[in-house]
Every structure is written in structure tokens, then in C-alpha cells.
């Protein structure tokens, strides 16, 4: 062994300065996840899909508002059936977030795992649990905003053409709990299923395909088997948030669906049980990795 050669003083000394709180570090991770979920910082083609879906979500709401404004200006009669209300608008946005989540969740989870980037987190103070929670919160925020913005456009547009802007808002106080609660149901179910698939599949394309095909197959199986017993309709994952939405809005739009008359308690219990199981399985998968 030799110890020849100079040792240069590069001015290194241990850091003893101020540090951010755990919460601040957590939110930096959430922001990182939000950027990745919509492709910010990546090439334009990575942004094209999520931003196209956001545009598709918002443009019809803007269209509804424009039609209402034009009708008001020109005194045209407008049938209520022509336009979408906040509950009906979920029929449209829930389809879009299904595809948004199908792509965004695998993009957020799989590369970190497959390309060993998890080490960036786990060799530093954040734990694997913190990482997962930050990723799921990032997805929840992006999907939540995706669902809420068109609803806000509708609400504000309607308020603008109403005789009293604030009077309209005051008359629609239920919006502020119905829409967030329904949005939460849609995002929890969709993100839960997609995250569970992405946690166990290492190929992004395969994860996207399994999520899309799997959910649709389960929908079909649920509907098919519900002729034997209506509780089989609970196999249809997309039925859960829609049934919760109807319950929140106090309507029943699922007359043709075999499980429409199932007690809401059964739907809520199934949803909560699934989400609990999904979280447990995702944690199990990641704890085995680290």
C-alpha cells in the first residue's frame, strides 16, 4: 500500500446549518410527484397526453358556460336538459381520469422501482412509506384538480349569468361538499386500482394494459354475474364511485345497472375494504424491495 500523493483541502466540512422540517421535505416530494404525473420537466410528448385530457375535461365546461352566456345575451330559451350539471359532468370527467390515471400512475411508480431510483429516497431521511404517501398524495392532487376545475368552471359560469353572482354561490353551498366528496371517491378508486397494478408490474405498457383491460373485464363479469345475485355487481369497480356519487347527490341514475338497488353501505364497505387491501399490498411490495 502506498500513501503517496497530495491530499487537497477541498474545503469539505460537515453540514451543521438549518434543515427543513419533515413536512417541508414531504411536500417537496409531493411537488416532484405532481410534476412527473403531468410530464413537467420531460419532453413535449410526455406532456401531450395529460394536458390533452385536461383540455378535454375543461373545454366542455367552458362550452356550457359560453352557451349559457350567449343564450342569456340573446334572450334565447334554454332547456335544462341540454346542459350538463355538476353531477352529470362527472360522467364525462370520470372517463377521462380513468385514462389519465392509467398512464400517470405507472409513470410515477414503475420507473423509480425498475431503474433503482428508489435509492435516491431510501438512502436519505425519507422512508419508503413517506415516499409512497408522497406519490399517492401527488396523484390525488393531480386527479382531484382534474376533476374539480371543470366543476368550478361550471359553477362560476352559472353564477356569472345568474341575477346574483354571490346569491347563486350561496344557493349552491352543497357544491362544496358534494363535488369534493364525489371527486375523492373517483380518485381513490381509480388511483387505488392503478397503484396496485403498478406496484406489482414492472413494465409500464403492461401495467397500463392490465389496468384498462382488467377494470373493463371486471365490469363485464360483475354485470354478467349480477343476474345470479346482485351483490356480484360489486365486482364492477367503476360502479363503486358512480353509486357513491348518486348517493351524495341524492339521485339514482343507475336504473339499468343490476346493482343499483344495493345498499350504499355495501358499496362503501366494499370500496373501503378494497382500498385498505390495496394499501396493504402496495406497502408489502415496497417493504420487500427495501
Amino acid at each position: 500500500m502506498t500513501s503517496e500523493g497530495a491530499v487537497f483541502d477541498l474545503g469539505y466540512e460537515q453540514y451543521r446549518g438549518p434543515r427543513l422540517s419533515d413536512r417541508q421535505v414531504f411536500w417537496r416530494m409531493v411537488i416532484d410527484g405532481l410534476k412527473k404525473s403531468v410530464g413537467i420537466g420531460k419532453r413535449a410528448r410526455n406532456k401531450a397526453f395529460p394536458f390533452s385530457l385536461v383540455a378535454l375535461a375543461i373545454l366542455p365546461a367552458l362550452g356550457v358556460v359560453v352557451i349559457q352566456v350567449v343564450a342569456k345575451i340573446f334572450g334565447l330559451p334554454l332547456s335544462g336538459d341540454v346542459l350538463l350539471d355538476d353531477r352529470e359532468y362527472f360522467d364525462w370527467t370520470s372517463q377521462l381520469i380513468f385514462f389519465f390515471v392509467a398512464v400517470a400512475v405507472p409513470n410515477l411508480l414503475i420507473p423509480d422501482r425498475v431503474e433503482n431510483v428508489l435509492l435516491v429516497y431510501t438512502s436519505r431521511p425519507p422512508t419508503i412509506n413517506t415516499y409512497l404517501v408522497a406519490r399517492l398524495v401527488a396523484m390525488a392532487i393531480s386527479v382531484g384538480v382534474f376533476l374539480m376545475i371543470p366543476q368550478l368552471v361550471l359553477l362560476i359560469g352559472e353564477a356569472l349569468i345568474s341575477p346574483s353572482f354571490f346569491g347563486h354561490l350561496a344557493d349552491n353551498l352543497a357544491f362544496w361538499w358534494r363535488v369534493p366528496l364525489t371527486s375523492f371517491a373517483y380518485l381513490a378508486v381509480n388511483v387505488g386500482v392503478a397503484a396496485l397494478v403498478a406496484a406489482y408490474i414492472n413494465n409500464r405498457g403492461a401495467a397500463i394494459a392490465i389496468y384498462i383491460i382488467g377494470v373493463n373485464v371486471l365490469n363485464g363479469v360483475g354485470i354478467g354475474l349480477s343476474s345470479i345475485n346482485e351483490y356480484f355487481s360489486l365486482l364492477s369497480i367503476q360502479f363503486w364511485p358512480t353509486r357513491i356519487r348518486d348517493w351524495v347527490f341524492g339521485v339514482n341514475t343507475l336504473d339499468d345497472f343490476p346493482g343499483a338497488d344495493l345498499p350504499i353501505v355495501a358499496v362503501l364497505a366494499t370500496t373501503i375494504a378494497f382500498l385498505t387491501l390495496a394499501v396493504a399490498l402496495i406497502l408489502r411490495r415496497y417493504r420487500k424491495l427495501i
Binding site: M1, V7, F8, E13, R28, R124, P125, P126
Partner: protein
């Protein structure tokens, strides 16, 4: 007597640690410790170095035994990682980020109040300032490696775990990284560097832990490890103006176990290099032979490790 695998001022302690994956034993009954300075972890690929480093960094749980970092189990104390820098063997970078963004993000994760400045300083230390705003996907392997070193030192840890840190670097970058690693140690950091390249470890480390087949094969500095191998004689290459005359004197000498004379040099074997070094000048003077070279052949880490590897 204290084992040379243990140091008195240990920051990291490994106590009877074994790790297996199914039927495969990666590490077997390791007991060693690490303190300030550079410790080289040496061994061929598959010797269990990476598994040991992952356990030191809290990324893998030992199957049996325990590891403590400054008295704490690294698995249950994530705050400890504010003091630890890890350069893993894997690539582990976001290729779509620039080097500056990546190192800044790494600094953010350790909670630094000014991660941008910390990243700029770390990138300057590894001489990547000019390339800092290029995407990592465009980097060579050596540049990525330096970026990962920058990410590991951005939060100025006092414990640094480097798994094959010189992989992919060119000679100039390697010299600079070695200087950096030695500088960190000179400033009191505990640095553990693994490598399967003997020359690298020889240049970096004050102390070596040699591993073969998941076990600790030797510990200490290279001279001490070599001296401990009393069953393997030292080889010494000698040049002299009268090789045959000197050879005749040495055959039968109590310190010499073998003599091989070639055309222009002689190779002898001895069990006591120090005593031979003292006796040989007198013998040469008495016989009128002029010795022009006396070179121990197997004092290098490569030779020592060769012996260790044969023993397994």
C-alpha cells in the same frame, strides 16, 4: 488482543452479521467496525461487498446479527441519513433531470435549507459545474458517477458509503475523486469505499477489509496483513553484479527458504523479510558482491489479495 477488523473509535459497528437470500449466503458472520478515515472494502465480484454496504446504509436487514451507526440501528432511524451519503452501485438517477436538478433534489430530500447552493458547491467539487445544466441522460458513465458522488456529498455527510465509486471514470476524474475521498477522510469523515480493483483501494484506503465468499478474509493495512501471513514466504527480487556468487552464499542461509537464479536476476524466498534486510548488506560486503536491487515482490495489495483468494 483486539481484532484488526475492529477500530477503537468506531462510528459503524457490525456484530456477527450474516445475510442470506434464500439458499445463497451473501455475508457470513461478519464482525468489523469502521471509524474516521478511509476503509477500503476489497473483494472480487460476488464477495458480498455490496450486500454489506447496503446493510450499513440501512437498505437491507441482516438475517442475523446487528449493525449500529453511531449507536443506532440504521433501519429504524431515518434521521441518521442526514449524516450519511451513499453512492450505490446502481445507476439510480433520473435521466430526464439535469445534473443540477438531480443534485438539488437530493439535497432537498436531506432537508437542506439552501439546496441550490449545496448542489452548486457539490457539483463544483466534482468538477461538473460546466455540465450542470445538461440532462443526465446525455452524460457519460463517468459523468453520471460524479453526479452521484455530488448527490451523496451535497448535504455534507460525515459518513460516506461508496460502492465502486470510480467505475467508469477516466484517469483524471479518478485521481480527482480519490483526492476528494481522501480529503473527506482527512476532515474527519468516516469513508467506506468498496472496489474490486486492487490498485484503486491501494491508492484510496488507509485500512483494508478484504472479503471473499461473503467472509472477512483479512483486515488492517496491507503491510500488516502481509506480515500476518507467516505461512507464505516473502518473495524478493535481487539484482547483483555476481548473481551466482551471491546465490552460493544464500543457499543454506537460515533466513532463506529458496533461491532461484535467472540470467540477470535472482528471486529468493524468506520468512523474515526484516531480518534478511539487515543481514544481506553484511553478507554482500564480506563476499565482495555489489547488490543493485532488493525488491520485495509481494508487498502489493494485489499480491496479498492473491494469497487470500487462494486460501478460501
Amino acid at each position: 488482543m483486539t481484532s484488526p477488523a475492529l477500530v477503537p473509535n468506531a462510528i459503524i459497528e457490525v456484530n456477527d452479521v450474516s445475510k442470506w437470500f434464500g439458499d445463497k449466503v451473501a455475508n457470513s458472520k461478519l464482525t468489523c467496525s469502521f471509524g474516521p478515515g478511509v476503509t477500503g472494502l476489497l473483494g472480487p465480484n460476488g464477495a458480498g461487498k455490496t450486500t454489506l454496504l447496503r446493510m450499513l446504509a440501512g437498505l437491507t436487514q441482516p438475517s442475523t446479527g446487528s449493525i449500529s451507526v453511531d449507536g443506532l440501528d440504521p433501519r429504524g432511524h431515518p434521521k441518521l441519513f442526514e449524516r450519511v451519503g451513499l453512492v450505490p452501485e446502481e445507476d439510480a438517477v433520473y435521466e430526464f433531470l439535469t445534473a443540477r436538478q438531480y443534485v438539488t433534489y437530493a439535497a432537498q430530500l436531506t432537508g437542506l435549507a439552501d439546496p441550490s447552493q449545496a448542489a452548486a458547491d457539490a457539483l463544483a467539487t466534482v468538477q461538473l459545474t460546466e455540465s450542470a445544466d445538461r440532462k443526465l441522460g446525455e452524460f457519460s458513465k463517468g459523468m453520471k458517477q460524479r453526479t452521484r458522488v455530488a448527490a451523496a456529498i451535497a448535504h455534507r455527510p460525515d459518513i460516506l458509503i461508496l460502492d465502486e465509486p470510480l467505475n467508469g471514470t477516466d484517469p483524471v476524474q479518478r485521481a480527482r475523486l480519490i483526492a476528494l475521498i481522501r480529503s473527506l477522510a482527512a476532515n474527519g469523515a468516516t469513508v467506506i469505499v468498496s472496489s474490486h480493483v486492487l490498485a484503486e483501494v491501494e491508492r484510496i484506503a488507509d485500512r483494508v477489509l478484504a472479503m471473499t465468499n461473503g467472509r472477512l478474509a483479512a483486515a488492517g493495512n496491507v503491510e500488516a496483513i502481509r506480515a500476518a501471513m507467516i505461512d507464505i514466504p516473502y518473495k524478493v527480487r535481487i539484482d547483483a553484479d555476481d548473481l551466482r556468487g551471491l546465490g552460493a552464499l544464500l543457499i543454506g542461509h537460515p533466513l532463506i527458504t529458496s533461491v532461484a537464479i535467472g540470467n540477470s536476476e535472482m528471486v529468493i524466498e524468506t520468512n523474515d523479510l526484516g531480518a534478511l534486510g539487515r543481514d544481506l548488506p553484511g553478507l554482500a560486503i564480506d563476499s565482495g558482491v555489489r547488490i543493485t536491487r532488493f525488491q520485495p515482490e509481494d508487498m502489493s495489495l494485489e499480491a496479498v489479495f492473491g494469497y487470500l483468494d487462494k486460501r478460501r
